[in-house]
């Protein structure tokens, strides 16, 4: 069973993502802020990381940069999940080390298809 780490502070979004992924047969671990996210990532070495960009304290860009510094996490795809139309979001997430980009609100019909592209 593939492991996916979700770093997301919004409880409902966290639940929504977890629900979809678990229903689709993935093992999900949750982190509600950047620091615990980095810790868990290093500890569990997931198959994919879903990363919210607007996180309290350490934001998604900083988390991505921190994750990329770790050799063991080098090959792990990081998919940014962020709100539509933030200026330069897409480029900034890729620059920070993310592999891909999914806009909120997620469309449950296409969400899995998009995630599985990175696995």
């Amino acid at each position: 069973m593939k492991k996916i780490l979700i770093i997301e502070d919004n409880e409902q979004n966290l639940y929504l993502l977890t629900f979809i992924l678990e229903k689709n047969g993935y093992s999900v671990s949750q982190a509600r802020d950047g620091f615990s996210g980095i810790e868990q990532a290093k500890d569990k070495i997931p198959d994919l990381i879903l990363l919210d960009i607007q996180l309290p304290g350490l934001d998604g860009y900083a988390v991505a940069r921190e994750l990329r510094k770790d050799q063991s996490l080098h090959a792990v795809p990081i998919v940014a999940v962020t709100s539509y139309a933030m200026t330069g979001d897409r480029e900034r997430t890729l620059e920070a080390g993310c592999t891909g980009y999914i806009e909120k609100p997620i469309d449950p019909l296409t969400f899995m298809e998009r995630i599985e592209k990175y696995l």
Partner: protein
């Protein structure tokens, strides 16, 4: 013997040298008040000539030629002649121009228009004597006549320049006195006037300074007000951008969960539940599009929109946009046509913004059309990508067309119910197309339909 006028007769008695010393005309002089101006005025007058001179003969010939009766008196020299004339004992006298020019005014005489017979003046000696002397004179004459600064020309200048006596006429004294008084009065007047002008100037200057001060103050106030307004505008846009983001967070949840429930991931639903939940989903999506519009216009107005320049397939972008309206088109029973020229392929622009505009225009076309066809045409003309979205819908009244691209306007379509939407769509389209360097226009006929056209310059076609 100097100053001898050459004549054939004299040549028999005297020897002349060859280079003439002077050439002179004879002229008649008379008292100023004599009234003698021309040769005809000399008729019956007493005229003085130089005794035994060439001019006497010449004048006799000259006056006879005009048939004049003249009493000629001769004197031994010019000085005596001018004295007689100034006393009024004769009417006119004949001298050479040099003498006359120099002395006439002294005797109260004036020159007349009577000028005749040029004569050449030479040095002369007794016939066939002093040949060497005459030859020497010739060689010297030649020499001094070639030098403009020679004593010859200097003395000639002295003789020919007029010495003008200065006499102040009495009328001039009166005029000067009168002008003096007038000047004094005018000085006094101008002094008073100047004082008044100075006072007025000072007053005007003060007024001017006050005005300038006020202009400076008003300008500063305006600049401040302008800055406040701009700040307020930026704040408003920033607020709307933040707000719409905040509004989206709960919407993400609503849309996400209705989505997964409708997918049946949480368990099976009955038909009624599916119908009702679909309504929630539809409203949520509509609310999302409204919020997105507000977010877009706020960002555009706050200058926060970034335009990308990426290579993408325009054909795919058009097809992608068309796909989004297929469900509504089918529901309304409309025809959907696409005519994309074979030339249209990869272009360099912002795909997301172009799709946003296309989806908006096609969405509007579907929204306002009840019967007929929605058609999208795409072609390349003169290095421009031209895209047309036409419909057979309600059309737009001419008066409404100007307002069409202004934000926060949704035209009254004459239908009982206003169409859904913020009315921001077209103003966003216009702004986005302009940001992409293009233009957007519309042609419409009420009841027949509308054609929206946007043109984008091609940065590089591949």
């Amino acid at each position: 013997m100097p100053d001898v006028a050459y004549t054939a007769d004299r040549d028999k008695k005297f020897s002349f040298h060859k280079v003439e010393v002077l050439s002179s005309w004879y002229q008649a002089y008379a008292r100023r008040e004599s009234g003698i101006r021309s040769i005809l005025d000399l008729n019956g007058k007493k005229i003085i000539v130089l005794e035994k001179s060439v001019q006497q003969e010449a004048f006799n010939r000259f006056s006879r030629g005009f048939g004049l009766d003249i009493n000629i008196v001769s004197v031994p020299d010019y000085k005596t002649m001018f004295e007689i004339l100034s006393r009024g004992d004769a009417d006119a006298g004949i001298t050479n121009q040099f003498y006359g020019a120099l002395h006439a005014r002294k005797y109260g005489l004036a020159d007349t228009a009577i000028v005749f017979e040029p004569s050449s003046l030479f040095f002369a000696s007794k016939k066939d004597t002093h040949r060497y002397l005459l030859d020497a004179i010739d060689s010297h004459m030649t020499e001094i006549k070639n030098d403009p600064n020679s004593a010859y020309y200097q003395s000639l200048k002295k003789w020919t320049s007029e010495e003008v006596p200065f006499r102040i006429p009495s009328w001039l004294k009166i005029v000067v006195l009168a002008s003096g008084i007038a000047l004094t009065i005018s000085f006094a007047g101008s002094f008073i006037l100047k004082r008044q002008v100075n006072i007025r100037t000072r007053e005007l200057k003060e007024i001017n300074e006050a005005m300038e001060q006020r202009i400076v103050e008003r300008t500063a106030e305006l600049a401040e007000a302008m800055e406040r307004a701009q700040d307020a505008d930026r704040l408003k846009s920033a607020f709307l951008a933040t707000m719409s983001h905040e509004l989206r967070t709960p919407l993400n949840s609503i849309i996400g969960f209705t989505g997964i429930i409708l997918q049946g991931l949480a368990g099976p639903l009955n038909n009624e539940q599916i119908k009702q939940l679909s309504m929630v989903q539809k409203s949520a999506n509509h609310l999302l599009s409204l919020i997105n519009d507000i977010l877009d216009i706020s960002k555009i107005e706050a200058g926060e929109i970034e335009i990308k320049s990426e290579l993408f397939d325009m054909r795919a972008a058009v097809e992608n946009s068309l796909r989004t309206v297929i469900p509504q088109v089918e529901k309304k029973g409309l025809a959907l046509e696409a005519a994309i020229d074979s030339e249209v392929g990869m272009i360099k622009s912002d795909r997301r913004r172009i799709e946003q505009v296309l989806i908006n225009l096609i969405g509007n076309a579907v929204k306002f059309t009840e019967h007929g066809t929605i058609r999208v045409e795409c072609k390349i003309e003169k290095a421009c990508l031209i895209t047309k979205v036409s419909d057979t819908g309600s059309g737009i009244e001419a008066a409404e067309i100007d307002k069409l691209f202004l934000p926060f306007r949704q035209i009254d379509t004459g239908l009982a119910r206003r169409h859904e939407g913020t009315g921001l769509g077209l103003s966003i389209c216009k702004k986005l197309i302009e940001m992409l360097g293009g233009t957007i226009s519309v042609k419409s006929e009420p009841g027949k339909g509308s054609v929206f056209t946007f043109r984008l310059p091609l940065q590089s076609k591949m």
